[in-house]
């Protein structure tokens, strides 16, 4: 059977299948090796001793198992995971298959499952981000197999990220915030759209003209929209190219938003005359009780060709073409072809004829927002000549857009990529390296994609989605109503810390895992003047007395002295019992609003200080990561253990069988460690040994990430163990999470696993065996540059996997 996998894996088989006639040095393993030649002998050699009709260990018999079918698909899927992850044959068994044989069987199974399940809901598990580690680490970083076909990525269209969509639409309705090198953390033109204090990520109409509001209007009255594109909300990498298309509901929503955006571009906020004033104090009392916001008099939005069109009487093809070109470039980041312009001109003219200019323009321009290239970035290489492996290099606009998209959601102010393209200087690998280096070294070019990688790698932004009960929050001394805002604050702080470490660009992963620095909000707002309502409360050592935090109240401060006052509050809140070192101001991106009751965007002053490294060490010990890996009322050992197993050790745990009733006993008086004794049963422990001992050291913190020395009236036991890491020097017991993190951060294998994740994020797919040389080169670049993220990205973005698209199998 021909492999239906999008990634063609080719390798010489002579050493694996001695009975197979190898006509070509390079051929498809999954395709050539059939059940009889390869699978049946594998089962015979390694499985049937325990899983024949007589033995049926674990009630599983593989005797008589035939080729993959719909009926036995679930069993084959289990076999795939067990074999790929070296769960089977049992580790104690001496007769173990070589890694290449495991890989060969795994590939055959996933190929077959893909084929037989095609019309039965499909099988794409092996392509999902969570299954990336099913390709054994040692195969990628060990000796390279002979005759490995050079790497490439399938030709594809890649649906844009929800943030990408929002940032581009925001460009149409919001004035540009200039980059300020003194305050690099502030929300700047091109950055991702920050979440509001309710955790929603929205583009707002009329943000630049926002004057003020009363009551709850600040939160609810501002007109805006969220992204209409769906996104995985689970742990891990979320934006592989194959994962998404756009359904009819999403399309309809985009159409609806497009009309609103066009109307705003033409006329500004949809508001009543009484909502415009020069000063909020001028607003009449009768309007103050309404749940509405007020705008500044005047025009505060980008003035675009859409504005010009609607300001000028009549309509001409020439003016419409200007509008079409402007919108098309803004939404696809490339100029339209003549044919594209003609199509959209015809549609707009028809609509104007039908409805008149005032309505027809807005309806008739909507299709540009739904153009394929406004929603999917093409990497199709339609014009190139394939090489002997069926690969074509990315060229022209597709190459420029791919490089740009590796970092940004919009085109930068001075688009050097387009200039290089026009001058014929964007053709070779060296050209790409030059441009990648230039972008990486220019801080004014915002790179939200890099930050997005770290959000998905660490999952810390998921903390905002973890629902906590009032009892569970107040039971730990925190403030229930403020908790969502605190989560938003902590996410922004962590963004800021990561960007700071990226600017330093030294041993990036190690620093993230072991830094003693934290960013926090040093003052509270006027509405929530209680110390426990701020993020720093979560860093508190519960063993020590907590002192009230000094409050910063913007209403008490004279104009022009805000920063001085904020500094004083910051210094006054050094909280020596929690944070032993003086704090320094740092600007962190948290809000889009320039005014309002919460820390405003233009002055998002926070503080950075250091913590006691006997208590905290790096992001994994920050409350934000601990909360992101907790549940409503307690720590989540599985989630934490899995994270370390997958993101740092490059291993995985098979999917939980449907027959497992995975529940811990309800014992209010027992600690989590005590309740997890149930996972010690033989059938559970095979998987749980990979998670529990890595997770239980974090019992040093409660489920809000606060330090504790006792739990359920018993002293906290923070011991654990690293086992089956694949690196014997890593394996062994640890006293607490700090010791474990130190060990992990020093490991070469952990760095390599990090490199694998960086590869996946930027290539938009799981790595395959052909990518091994690229991963090894990237690892070398990272190592030899003392852990530079820039060096790592430069290596990957100039690799064949990034630059070549496979157009033919």
């Amino acid at each position: 059977m021909k492999s239906p996998q999008p990634f063609h894996v080719a390798i010489a088989l002579a050493s694996l299948l001695s009975t197979q006639a190898v006509a070509d040095e390079s051929l498809d393993v999954g395709a050539a090796a059939g059940f009889k030649e390869m699978v049946a002998p594998f089962l015979e050699s390694y499985c049937l001793d325990c899983h024949d009709e007589d033995t049926q260990k674990g009630n599983v018999s593989l005797e008589g198992l035939s080729d993959v079918s719909v009926e036995n698909a679930s069993l084959w899927k289990r076999i795939w995971e067990q074999v790929a992850l070296k769960e089977m044959p049992p580790r104690k068994q001496a007769n173990q298959p070589p890694l290449m044989e495991r890989w060969e069987l795994s590939t055959w199974i996933t190929d077959e499952l893909t084929a037989v399940m095609k019309d039965k809901g499909g099988f794409i598990d092996h392509l999902r981000p969570s299954k990336g580690n099913h390709l054994d680490h040692d195969l990628l970083f060990g000796p390279l197999p002979p005759n490995l076909e050079p790497a490439s990525t399938p030709a594809r269209i890649w649906r844009i990220h929800p943030q990408e969509q929002l940032v581009r639409l925001n460009e149409l309705v919001c004035l540009k915030r200039k980059y300020d090198p003194e305050r690099p953390g502030l929300w700047t033109h091109g950055d991702h759209i920050p979440s509001n204090l309710e955790g929603e990520t929205k583009v707002y109409f009329g943000l630049d003209g926002y004057l003020g509001s009363f009551n709850d209007a600040y939160n609810f009255g501002v007109s805006g929209f969220q992204s209409s594109l769906s996104m995985i909300r689970d742990h891990g990498l979320r934006n592989y190219s194959f994962l998404y298309t756009i359904n009819s509901a999403e399309s309809l929503q985009i159409a609806g938003i497009a009309e609103k955006v066009l109307r705003f571009m033409a006329y500004g906020p949809a508001a009543e005359p009484y909502q415009f004033a020069d000063d909020i104090e001028q607003v009449s009392g009768e309007y103050r009780g309404l749940n509405i916001i007020f705008y500044k008099n005047g025009i505060y939005r980008p003035l675009t060709p859409v504005y010009e069109l609607m300001q000028t009487p009549g309509v001409s093809d020439e003016r419409l073409k200007e509008v079409i070109t402007f919108l098309f470039e803004s939404l696809t980041l490339r100029p339209p072809s003549e044919a594209e312009t003609a199509i959209y001109l015809e549609i707009a003219n028809k609509s104007i004829k039908e409805l008149g200019k005032d309505e027809g323009v807005f309806v008739g321009l909507v299709p540009i927002f739904l153009d394929r290239d406004a929603l999917f970035r093409p990497e199709l290489c339609e014009d190139g000549q394939p090489d002997q492996y069926g690969r074509v290099p990315l060229q022209g606009d597709e190459l420029a857009l791919a490089i740009n998209a590796a970092f940004s959601y919009i085109r930068p102010e001075n688009d050097h990529l387009r200039t290089a393209l026009a001058e014929g200087k964007l053709k070779t690998r060296e050209d790409v390296k030059r441009e990648v280096t230039r972008i990486l070294n220019d801080d004014s070019i915002r790179k939200p994609r890099i930050l997005q990688f770290f959000r998905e790698f660490f999952d810390y932004d998921r903390a905002a989605t973890i629902c906590k009960t009032r009892e569970s929050i107040e039971g730990q001394g925190a403030h229930y109503e403020s908790h969502p805002a605190v989560m938003g604050s902590m996410i922004a702080n962590t963004d800021g810390l990561i960007e700071l470490i990226l600017r330093e660009d030294k041993e990036v992963l190690k620093e993230l895992l072991t830094t003693n620095r934290v960013i926090y909000q040093p003052y509270t707002s006027v509405r929530v003047a209680r110390g426990m309502t701020t993020d720093i409360a979560y860093f508190i050592n519960r063993k020590k007395t907590f002192e009230p935090i000094k409050v910063y109240n913007p209403e008490w401060v004279k104009k022009g002295e805000e920063e001085k006052e904020q500094h004083e509050v910051t210094n006054g809140n050094q909280l020596h019992h929690i944070l032993p070192n003086p704090a320094q101001p740092i600007y962190v991106r948290q809000s889009q609003f320039d005014n309002g009751i919460f820390p405003p965007a233009k002055d998002a002053l926070k503080a950075i200080t250091t913590v006691d490294t006997r208590e905290r060490l790096g992001i994994l010990t920050h409350p934000i990561w601990l909360i992101a890996h907790s549940d409503a009322m307690e720590n989540h050992a599985i989630s934490r253990g899995r994270w370390i197993r997958e993101r740092l050790l490059g291993d995985a745990v098979p999917d939980i069988p449907v027959t497992v009733d995975a529940k811990l006993p309800e014992e209010p008086e027992s600690t989590l460690r005590q309740r997890m004794r149930v996972t010690r049963k033989e059938e559970c422990w095979r998987c749980h040994q990979k998670m529990d001992p890595l997770a239980l050291p974090f019992e040093m913190y409660n489920h809000l990430g606060m330090l504790r020395d006792s739990d359920k009236g018993q002293p906290v036991d923070a011991t654990g163990e690293i086992i089956l890491s694949g690196d014997p020097s890593l394996d062994g017991p640890v006293q607490d999470p700090l010791e474990m993190i130190h060990k992990l951060a020093a490991s070469e294998r952990v760095k390599q696993v990090f490199v694998r994740h960086v590869f996946r994020f930027w290539m938009g797919r799981n790595e395959i065996l052909n990518d091994a040389p690229i991963l090894q080169d990237a690892d070398k670049a990272y190592r030899e540059s003392n852990g530079s993220m820039k060096a790592l990205l430069t290596s990957l973005l100039t690799s064949d996997a990034f630059l070549y698209r496979k157009v033919k199998n």
Binding site: I157, S230, Y244, T245, Q253, E259, E359, V363, P367, R372
Partner: protein, 436 residues
Amino acid sequence: MLHGMATGVGALLGTSLFPDLAQGADAPVIKIAGAPKRVIFFLQNHGFDPLTCIPKELKESCALSGLTLAEPMKALEPYKNRMHIITGLHGRHTNPGHSAYFGALGAYRGGTGVPPSAATIDYVLSQALPQTILPPLCIGMESLDSMRARPTVATLSAAGPNQPIFMHCDPTMLYQLLFGSIAEGAIRQHYEARSQVMLEIERVAQLKGKGLPLSEGERYGRYVSGFRDLNGLNEKLSKISTQLKKFAPKLDDRYTNPQFETDWHDALLDLGIAALQANLTNVLTIASGCGEYFGSWKGLGITETGHGLGHIDQPGNSIWTKIRQYNCEMLVKLMKALEATPEGAGSMMDNTLIVYSSNNAEKQHSEGATWPFVLLGNAGGRFKTGQYTHIKERPINDLYATFLHGVGSPVDRFNMDNNMATLHHSRKGPIEELLA
């Protein structure tokens, strides 16, 4: 423009707003009375505590006559003889917590961000019942802010693995979608112009799909087919304008200028009723709280909103009594509307089954140990009524299998394989106590 929206869970491989629309009938099929023709699901979020639907002292199965319904359910008192209260089913395997999401109607493991792993019971029933244009129609009720921000969302219903069905939350958009073709004046003119633009978008989208690699072509094809479905729907609706005119609700201030979110909830219910009466759909799924764990009912005088509502113990609580009473008033409105609509020798209600429950068992942070249901109507005499039945330790899958038996599409089990069946005490075939 025909509006709509999709965010949230599971739409990994984009699916239609109206699954299998292409297989839908060109015109409504009018059947004779006396056979199951439609099913309505009404799921309230934050759980359904059994103590809010049965008197505390009641432990055993019995007839409902002579008993007084619990305060939250009092609006249904006159309908006791057409009612069946069921307790004792479980959904532990659905991982309910805040919500079992697709697992609530799919009776399989669900969760935040987890795509559907199989078709849900509302969709399966819609395929088994006499065909209509929209199988099924799903509506979701939330806070005004949320409904505006997410006019459609997919959390509960699915046509198959990775194929979520989106629910409509904005009544103005749903009105335009279902009844725009029969509107008059400016609304009609806009509807026509926008429909034309949608056809153009489909044409351009199709054009740009040519020459894509096979796998990418399939993925992009779903984008294109979404437009085809929508444009096809417009065409089908335009053919039944008489039917639509007869049942279209009045487009009043509640749609365009709602005071509270409950104005929109009521408008959505009206649209759902009209869609049933016009035979546009054979299954209506109503999600109060949109299958998630937020929600708002300020129109009932309830100031608390969102997630915190779920942390309140429901029995005896005035907030939850109000919400439950509001649900029941909606159910009464539904039944009255269907009773007033002739069908065959009787009324539409004669051929209808209404299923009232929750998307996360008995409470928020539920483990799914008990999952109450209230059935109303007998779907052409197929289901037993006037009864309270306590079932000992069977999964909700068995109830869903019973529904399929009731509508004449019997299955051994629903979304439950043999391995799981033993573990979860599932038995083959229907729950006999429920069938007439």
